[in-house]
């Protein structure tokens, strides 16, 4: 899962604004328990870089005074952290039972056909990737999908609403 080749990539520096956000998070925990800040910091870093490369995680480890492996083992455990580059917009469609009862599988097929890439792949323009994810706790409003890093939520999906969503995102990225 971990991209080892990136270990040779250029070292990363975090902006002062980002470091300030890190400091704020660390202040929520007792002194010496800064490791608790790891998950929230990884979210911030992923929002900044789009995914978590080894150099980025090494830098997080350095900031939190952890071994790099402590960051890698956490990042690879949780499903929200990307271990490889993604499209600018990642469409994450719920694929669990209740959403499937109301047509999630058809929506995933439609997205695959519409974007022309398989699950986990990135469109040639770098704008989109998509994947099925497990239950998003919105079972009454399925099919649903979310788009990070804000994790905006789209409910009661239809082919038409997926069309609108994708064209809106394309327009947004052109501006």
């Amino acid at each position: 899962m971990l991209r080892v080749d990136d270990a040779q990539a250029a070292p990363v520096t975090f902006s002062p604004e980002l470091i300030k956000q890190f400091d704020d998070i660390v202040s929520r925990y007792p002194v010496g328990k800064q490791k608790s800040a790891l998950l929230p910091i990884l979210h911030l870093v992923q929002a900044e870089y789009g995914w978590l490369s080894a150099p980025v995680m090494d830098k997080v480890a350095e900031y939190l005074q952890l071994q790099s492996i402590e960051v890698y083992e956490v990042a690879t455990f949780y499903s929200m952290y990307f271990m490889r580059p993604q499209g600018k917009y990642v469409l994450e469609v719920c694929r669990t039972g209740p959403c499937c009862l109301v047509g999630a599988e058809k929506i995933m097929d439609y997205i695959e056909q519409k974007l022309g890439v398989k699950e986990g792949e990135v469109t040639p323009d770098g704008l989109f990737s998509w994947r099925g994810v497990e239950c998003l706790a919105a079972c009454g409003f399925g099919p649903v999908l979310q788009i990070g890093p804000e994790y905006t939520f789209y409910e009661n999906l239809t082919e038409q609403s997926v069309d609108t969503l994708i064209s809106d995102l394309k327009a947004k990225s052109n501006n």
């Binding site: 929520r28 979210h43 694929r95 009862l101 994810v133 239950c135 919105a138 939520f153």
Partner: protein
Amino acid sequence: MARKLLLEHINVPGINTFDVYRQKGGYAAVEKALKTLTPEEIVEEVKKSGLRGRGGAGFPTGMKWSFLAKPEGVARYLVCNADESEPGTFKDRYLMTYIPHLLIEGMIVSSFALGAHASYIYVRGEMMPQIRILEKAIAEAKAKGFLGKNILGTGYDLELYVQPGGGAYICGEETALLESLEGKRGNPRIKPPFPAIAGLYGCPTVVNNVESIAAVVPIINEGGEEYAKVGVGRSTGTKLISAGGNVKKPGVYEIDLGLPVEEFLYSDEYCGGIANGKRLKAVVAGGSSVPILPANLFLKTINGDARLMSYESLADGGFVSGTMMGSGGFIAFDEDQCIVRNTWNFTRFYHHESCGQCSPCREGTGWMEKVLHRLEYGHGKMSDMDLLVDVSKKIEGNTICPLGDAAAWPVASAIRHFRDEFEWHVTNGAEAVKRNYGLAHYADPLPKPEAV
């Protein structure tokens, strides 16, 4: 219409803001608790209320609180479990989105009762919008003097923080949640020690579900005894039910425990019946982990009594003919749904979400997924059903945390109640990929049990 204890003001415009929530009587429980009650008295009220944990296990909240160790000079923590991920359940998302101050108010009262001065709300990472909502609500409450130092001049200090998860169902298990909150992989801990003795950072900790903590507010406002008058028997109070699947009106409903399931499913006040004029085939009553029941066994118990939405009635008949209240994730299946496909889907979920710590769960869930996949796609064997039951039995009870049981029960119950549909997938493999088995006899009236 029953009285709502949690969602009474849910439709009031602006109820998500401090000012409107306060106008509607919000934060009265904080004033009452901090100014007129001792922590012990609050714990006593919660005990009297009979409130049972709303996250799924149904353990009495007051009792859980009374187990909290109180060694001198050691910090105590309250952690709210908002890692709502049980398929079928979306009540906590609803509550946090529309009436976030109810949770904040409950957290303040509960933290005071437990002697915590820093409390955390662990929200699943995917719920970033809800995290932003809660952080705003906390800032509002703090600006009004309900959080921070010397709350309402009572000398009580409390800081409340929101912690995002990283996307892992297992973190809904309380010890995995604590590991995750400590910045580690969400591997459940071996118990004992229980969190009440050694939880967050090794300190005494209580972990409660969002809805349990919210329920503390009406309990303090009205008194534990009043709260206990709602409901039936040991199922006291109201419960949020997330209704999904093929019902006409999906959504979150607050019900008095003890409501007949038939009324919940078919009355216009609640689900409004099955969508598109179809008939009910099966129900998962409490989230994907609880046993699935065919329509006939769900609506009436094996003895022919009307089933109620209560912990006891849903569990009537044990796992032979009953199910569980769980987290209140109510999933209805119409006549067009395939039980084999759904069981495969749920098993894929558990395989994906197994933390990998215990081999029966790590290997067993994957094995069951594979077997169910071949059954669904018409390549199954008659011996597969017994194989699935065998694997599920070897997972159940042999793992550190209940995820193993949660993965085993849906499979075992689906085969118990829908065996002929599984067999049809073997005998009619080519047909099974093209069409579903249909309603079959699953809604037919049950034969009367023989007199003993």
